[in-house]
Chain length 299, copies 4
Amino acid sequence: MIPKDSMVLLVSPRGKRYLRRFDPAGELHTHDGKLLMAQVAEAGFGRTVRTHLGKPYQVLKPTVHDLIKGVKRHTQIMYPKEIGYLLLKMGIAPGCRVIEAGSGSGGLTVALACYVGETGKVYTYERREEFFTLAGKNLARVGLEGRVEQTLRDVRDGFVHTGADALFLDVRTPWEVLEHIPAAVIPGAMTGYLLPTTNQVSDLLRGLEQGPFCDVEVVEILVRRYKPVADRLRPEDRMVAHTGFLVFARCLEAEREDLAEDADGENAPTEPLGEPLESAQDAPENGWDAPETPPSGEA
Amino acid sequence: MIPKDSMVLLVSPRGKRYLRRFDPAGELHTHDGKLLMAQVAEAGFGRTVRTHLGKPYQVLKPTVHDLIKGVKRHTQIMYPKEIGYLLLKMGIAPGCRVIEAGSGSGGLTVALACYVGETGKVYTYERREEFFTLAGKNLARVGLEGRVEQTLRDVRDGFVHTGADALFLDVRTPWEVLEHIPAAVIPGAMTGYLLPTTNQVSDLLRGLEQGPFCDVEVVEILVRRYKPVADRLRPEDRMVAHTGFLVFARCLEAEREDLAEDADGENAPTEPLGEPLESAQDAPENGWDAPETPPSGEA
Amino acid sequence: MIPKDSMVLLVSPRGKRYLRRFDPAGELHTHDGKLLMAQVAEAGFGRTVRTHLGKPYQVLKPTVHDLIKGVKRHTQIMYPKEIGYLLLKMGIAPGCRVIEAGSGSGGLTVALACYVGETGKVYTYERREEFFTLAGKNLARVGLEGRVEQTLRDVRDGFVHTGADALFLDVRTPWEVLEHIPAAVIPGAMTGYLLPTTNQVSDLLRGLEQGPFCDVEVVEILVRRYKPVADRLRPEDRMVAHTGFLVFARCLEAEREDLAEDADGENAPTEPLGEPLESAQDAPENGWDAPETPPSGEA
Amino acid sequence: MIPKDSMVLLVSPRGKRYLRRFDPAGELHTHDGKLLMAQVAEAGFGRTVRTHLGKPYQVLKPTVHDLIKGVKRHTQIMYPKEIGYLLLKMGIAPGCRVIEAGSGSGGLTVALACYVGETGKVYTYERREEFFTLAGKNLARVGLEGRVEQTLRDVRDGFVHTGADALFLDVRTPWEVLEHIPAAVIPGAMTGYLLPTTNQVSDLLRGLEQGPFCDVEVVEILVRRYKPVADRLRPEDRMVAHTGFLVFARCLEAEREDLAEDADGENAPTEPLGEPLESAQDAPENGWDAPETPPSGEA
């Protein structure tokens, strides 16, 4: 049995994918014929149902990955490779309160809403009305609108929410927004940024150096796919080489900055405060008080 | 105020990191002097406290990333880059029931427990007693033992749990376990595998081709870090080039396999059923019924 | 002045490229009108000439890169990224005698012929008559046929030449050819192999382990391009993710193999002889008797 | 027989490598005992000789790769991966006249000298006397000093040579040198640049846009090594992630720039002239008049 309003993914024999909010009274019209949702409900996830023309369709419970890919988009959306990394890096987990701008088509918003769970909340800002509307539709389409609060506003004018656990900016000039972040998040919150060009990364780093930010990290995430053929295993011929640079930084309180001077007895640290963390990540066994074995062992 | 038993991350002026389950009556002894937890509780997250020698320590709320890195390990642990990707790919979200084997040091277990939330559950299997114990300690250390059920068992002998939403294997010969998976998961569940060598990937692919698996994907995740210096932006000199190959596949019911023959009117598809999904991901606008814009637009 | 029979590259206003062996009496017919070669000769390299319709064409001296790209191909040809690496790795330089199989379309043959110079020689083997003919045409097209000797023969039946300084195989099953290599090259010669799948690499490594080969190296070469825009610098959206794996090994005389036992006093080294060289390359300052500074310094 | 003054590479049982200009009257003192060069001469390349303590040493003919790695360095040297690519890209082949600055330790100079052969010439500039001297020693050490002319001069003051076929700059601020290039090279010559940071690449691109340069290309070359074990094939755990960005551009005569306006009937093309070439390289079958098959076929 599939409950009403849960999400369902129907896959045709040719691999065409239909993502739907489940209504047991509905029907799906495809090139392979008509599918009755009542029949889908009875079959349940993982089973196959046939159209009135006898074509078999798989009934699947969509993953977050499927939900994101199913977003109707008028803009570039973030890829799962970036979203997965930022969730862990920023500590976005069930119960979190997260601020995001801009909403765009709502792809990241959908993912964030999945992961903050029913006890968390996503506050998403968008300044262009058409995307504000589109993101709302995409959230409703996957049944997650209850976990999200949408605000139509240019974040260069500041945020109207406070005390967020994390804040993510996918805007063109995030350095113009930095001054408003300390008022929007709890002290020590992780902030994240997506930027397509190296020039923007440099501009953002200049902004972050003004404080009160530390633990700055700049990364790219690359996914390399293989042709899944046992006897001819090889990477795909081509791959996505660039979506954007991810930048992360903790937002401290201003007080902390002054203390930085104590760090090494000098009066003007030119490196970001968090530099030791950066190297700690590259060589994960350093910087922690726990004894650890090297990361290169084999299974 | 920091509640008792929540996790706290304390960072020294030099970047040394102390991850602790919070006890307001405790103390932390460091090379920089003694820290009173009562003082930490009063300061709160994002603030700075001083040791009795006057050294400033940052008080931070740890992210999932921090919790994973804080795991005391006797084995290689999975990296956040792989964990983030598999969460989205496998749909592991609040409320999920996930099976995992082997537990190893418990690094992935910690991450899964964070993301299934209080309403989900992680079932972790380990055949070696020392790791069973170590994983248990690491879970208790971060306060997530309540969301995890540990089983001391070789999964080549099968799973004792059923109906899982997702199943992940980080074992040396996962192809010896495949026959037991359909009984352990709901139909259509995503399964995932981490393997260090190409030979193992080929062996696993051969096993998956016996069915009832489809939508097979083989990927590597690479993270490239940059030195966060605005005026001298450049990648780090060296990077982690390999942790392992991630393989994903949906586990269907046996019934589905027979239907595969209908897919294209031929009687023996040699490609995995899910092949169209694979290509759909490489060119995300294909295979979906939703109109979408190309993924390469710029912000 | 451009000498007769030298190669000329003509580039249209739209970037269309015409690679021609220069004949001052000839003409080039293009969509932009007719170009007189006499006019091209007078202008010289680096200048611009106009078609009878007034369209400007650049006159350029082609690079090796241009010559390779201009090869008319019926097969995949090797990329400059792989060719450049193998030249240095295998020591293919002016004066060298190089054996290559199979010829394919002759792309690599063209590059090798450029680099062995007038004092060297390329011996290229091909078993399929159509490619034997095609490679010959492509060599003549760029005026390098004098440096190359073509042999129509399956190299699984052995080579007819001896004493080569280097030998490169771009064939499907190079492990079936290994036994013939020692008779074809000078002792200690570098051998190279291009293979598209990991399974083939494993098969080749098994063959090389039978000896008399050492210093085995397996690499992939990746080129990541950037959009050359000063204020919006960023990688291209997509890239070539795979052409093939390059494998290199030195071919010793059988005598050497026996000596391997002396290497560490044990009687059966399971690692390839050349293992120390392999690690020496990863950390180039090791293994050499010359004092060297670390490779990570900045300009 | 090994001729006097040719280069010899001697490899110890443990993989230690000795690169020497051959003197049949000399000896090599090692931790494994003494080697007589007369004995080495008699054995010849590819053979093994024993020290007076009975330890077997391999006698090898060094490759260009070996010569570069054997350079005694006080600076970072370029890697074979970059050198190989630039040779092909810039058309540096036997008979070429190449200008290079700065000499640094002479690693690239050695490689260039190998490839221009006896009929070509390398003109290398260095402004710091210590490196001028060091590069000279390294060239003499490998017996290539006859193909190289060294000049002690800051190239920001211009070049003293003219008519070079190609020109490569490995200096900190190459944009300060651009104005001097047209006088130093033949029209249409390829120029290349190595730069460690994205900021420098942007600065150089700004300079190149002032002309007379076209066909601008920015790339990174990555080499990924595998552990050469047949049954456990896998990438190395770590890799070199960055040495530098390579930039290439053709240097035209000023005249050509004016013609650019004709290219598309508009009066101010904002893209570099060579843009079509750039895309032609990404999809090599475009832009050429030769029919070609797609690059993704398998062997």
